[in-house]
Symmetry: C2
Subunit: 203 residues, 2 copies
Amino acid sequence: MRISQLAERSTVPIATIKYYLREGLLHEGELTSATQARYDESHVQRLRLVRALIASGGLSVARARAVIEQLDGPHEHVGEVLGIAQGSVTPLPNANVDVSRATDLIKKWGWRIDPGDTASVTALAVALDGLDAAGFDLPDGALDHYVAHMADIAETEVAGIPTESVDAAVRYVVLGTVLVEPLLLALRRLAQQDASARRFLLD
Amino acid sequence: MRISQLAERSTVPIATIKYYLREGLLHEGELTSATQARYDESHVQRLRLVRALIASGGLSVARARAVIEQLDGPHEHVGEVLGIAQGSVTPLPNANVDVSRATDLIKKWGWRIDPGDTASVTALAVALDGLDAAGFDLPDGALDHYVAHMADIAETEVAGIPTESVDAAVRYVVLGTVLVEPLLLALRRLAQQDASARRFLLD
């Protein structure tokens, strides 16, 4: 199909498609003349994925490209996939953050963490520092409660990682990391509204 | 204290403090001359809160100001606090999103949602659309599993809302919404690493 048809099929404007081509988010089409290229179903699928990463996952173009490279790249071990996937979507850690409390908590919970992944440990440290700095004390037991819920969610998610091919595993892990985060946050807010309505409204 | 001491106490650079003053994120100090002002402990606390919202909560300056205005503003009903708080930190809904599937699911779960809050419903719709667009099928039962966990988390959080004063409730809800989100996401990623290490590494 021509680029105009690709735009129609994917509902992505032509100018945006050209931008994604320049930025390496979309593979080139097959040249049919010096100025025209032919696109196929793989381009439609890829455009939908890119839109999902940017619009729903909230990724920048650079971060979306890192994710796409993960999905396209060669992979060897399912066990290594998670660290690579999380690394590709997590900002580089800020070296000024003290991670000792986060590290102690992780040890206390008995979690085995990829030693190469400092980004997620830093993210935990930043989150805890943010609560402190704002003077927001979590109620007693709240952190353990969050930990127990997230551990159960993660256990189920990891048990669902497909093992028939490394590519399928990478796809599941990368997209599960990026695209399930906004789902969980939306569900929490809606569930809070429901709980609040039941607690505070008397009709 | 003078602005230089405020910078030292809060570890926020003077230029940033002046920027926050101009942007209304920080209240003015007491003028001691035409060019100098005196700051007190309330400025130190406020600066820490602003830094937490921006650095840990990931809010823009405009969004952080909306949150601050919520915290400072007059409040009447604890029951209304949650919708206002979530509204102040959630981007305006994109009118192009079809929310019918999200609305049907919320009805199926029996959740009572603030009818004025279309932002959270839209966020759910965008998250579900993103999974579809990326061709990522949640495993059977996964959505119900997420819903059950988030409902339990929200139930506990709402039960912890302080009721002795509306101001305390607002503070708890606003900061709990903004600052607990990064905590939950960091915990999920770390828990995934632990689950992955137990599943795929054999040492």
